[in-house]
Amino acid sequence: MTMSANETPLLELRKLEKRFELDQGFLETLKFRGGKFVREKRDVHAVNGVSLQVTRGEALCVVGESGCGKSTVARLIAGLLTPSSGEIHYEGTRIDDKSRHDLLPMRKKMQMIFQNPYASLNPRMTIKQALEEPVRYHNRALSRGDVEAKVADVMQSVGVDPSWMGRYPHEFSGGQRQRIAIARALTVDPEFIIADEPISALDVSIQAQVLNLMLEAKEQRGLTYLFITHDLSVVQHFGTRVAVLYLGSVCELSDTATLFENPKHPYTKALLSAVPQLKDDKPSHIRLKGEIPTPINLPQGCPFQSRCAHANARCMSETPRPLTQPDGSMVACHGVEEDRLLS
């Protein structure tokens, strides 16, 4: 995947940062230090300077450890959170400083599928009501019967029995709900989908069905995806490029084939080795030793340093910058830069 220099990316993140305040109450911020009370506020550094570009028609997959900031990035892009600093541009227009009202036209083009299938549907709306709303919105001329037929089509396309459209979300299993949420996002006919672990709750055969549906939409309508998942076989199948996030920053960014053939960052290597295999029953993954760092107290130097077998003095003190490699991938690692990692 190459990006021509003159084409405006569909989405661009520039040095995006998000911090959450950890201590909300006044009393909680009071700490006893050196014999007197001082006010000390602590933050969760969820996203720390993420810069990314998403080109039209691609499927950029975001992977990384639980809690590394993937959902936060997704929510920042969808306008559900405001960045602490940095900028978000959509089709060349800055969107992070716009009001909800100004963003309305944008909202139709961008749809988000949430991580938790139990939270993505309104519990008081029947499935029919939930699906009708976007269908009506986009085809105001449709008759009642046509709307219902379209809703039935949508349900069928994700393998949920249309005769159940009058039922409420709690009457469906986790996977059935998630499929309905996906169907809902697709009916709006968006150009960009932010999908936060959309298929993690689905069994393999339904996963195949939904992935095929999403691939089709990509090919036929040129849909663009930001796809968050921890299932690496799905990444390999669906992604055009992959961004590996660690503790709120990108540690490796590469096209999919390159990443799987030649992972470079030590964290990426550990990640690829941990995928459970179907046929062998002896797990042989690279165990990450050492203290798991926390976004509450960001470590000095490289964010991965405390768990890295190759860390040296420089890694402890200096934060590595992302550097472009000969094969086009970007890696933020002193060891890779100095060419001292033996694979």
Partner: protein, 330 residues
């Protein structure tokens, strides 16, 4: 005596338009320290199986038939107070939806302390120490700080791990884990799996692992049940089922994995979809999607019988299971 023994468990939902059968004569056993995987189509009844074992089915769902014995004691008809004592304490479930366990208005610390104090005589400080230790066991960094946070302030995967920590608080003898690692990345998943494995091996905890991740099933379990439309359609040793699946649905499942198709190509999905509970066919429930279906499949539901090294519910298994299908290698 086995830890758990389930016979002909049948669960129904009373619906506006009549009763539907969500579980149909499900039978299985679990020994102490044994690890059993449950896989199957979304909506097949895996979570309902877990709820039934915990005696947590709520109206309109009810157990219509069958028995569940936990250490020789029938728990289907146990009085509420007795069941509450078993639940959480001796058997515990990691729910698919973490928010079933987590109370949104309490901090993580409050919930863990409360759970502990409900079953054990402990001071708050002692309970907190145990909570911190369990959080550390599930690889939550800075557990002391996390105790003060509310569920919505945590990432999806952290919530899932906290639920696991809560389940581990009381050292249960049976753990039912419903998709315990769906929100976790593979490195943490591997660590959590190792932790569960260790519990089964050293503390002889029985584990029922509900998951759609066949890789996880393959590495974690001794035996596997495959469910479809409320029934067990294939059961046997995990190795046999993964290497040599007998039921056409199980074969389709393994073929649908992304590893079985070149990147970017259409995945081999099983045609059609599982019937909803209101429209289960009268013969074999998989028949409408099955390439091998015959007249008998359309008219009569197959019994589960021993075939090759597993048990399977399929009329055509002899004919079908000639040579290996193509494209089976990983």
């Amino acid at each position: 005596m086995s830890l758990l023994s389930v016979r002909d468990l049948t669960v129904k939902f009373a619906m506006r338009d009549g009763n539907v059968t969500a579980l149909n004569q499900v039978s299985f056993d679990l020994a102490r320290g044994e690890r059993l995987g449950i896989v199957g189509e979304s909506g097949a009844g895996k979570s309902i199986t877990g709820f039934s074992l915990m005696n947590l089915l709520s109206s309109p769902g009810y157990i219509a038939d069958g028995t569940i014995q936990f250490q020789g004691q029938d728990i289907v008809n146990l009085p509420d107070a007795k069941m509450r004592n078993i639940r959480g304490n001796r058997m515990a479930m990691i729910f698919q939806d973490p928010m079933v366990t987590l109370n949104p208005v309490l901090t993580i610390g409050q919930q863990m302390v409360e759970t502990l104090k409900a079953h054990r005589r402990l001071s708050k400080a002692e309970a907190e120490q145990i909570a911190i230790m369990k959080l550390r066991q599930v690889y939550i960094p800075s557990p002391e700080e996390r105790l003060m946070q509310y569920p919505h302030e945590l990432s999806g995967g952290m919530r899932q791990r906290i639920v696991i920590a809560i389940v581990l608080l009381l050292d249960p003898e049976l753990i039912i884990a419903d998709e315990p690692t769906t929100a976790l990345d593979v490195t943490i998943q591997a660590d959590i799996m190792e932790l569960l494995l260790e519990l089964c091996q050293s503390a002889k905890v029985g584990l029922i692992l509900i998951t759609h991740d066949l890789g996880v099933v393959s590495q974690m379990t001794d035996r596997t049940l495959v469910m479809y439309a409320g029934r067990i359609i294939e059961a046997g040793s995990t190795r046999e089922i993964i290497n040599d699946p007998q039921h056409p649905y199980t074969q389709g499942l393994i073929n649908a994995l992304p590893q079985q198709t070149a990147p970017g190509q259409r995945l081999k999905q099983i045609p059609g979809s599982m019937p909803s509970l209101t429209a289960v066919p009268k013969g074999c429930p998989f028949e409408p999607r099955c390439a091998f279906a015959t007249d008998v499949c359309r008219s009569t539901p197959p019994e589960i019988v021993r075939h090759a090294h597993v048990e399977v519910a399929c009329h055509e298994v002899n004919r079908l299971h000639a040579p290996q299908q193509e494209g089976q290698s990983a």
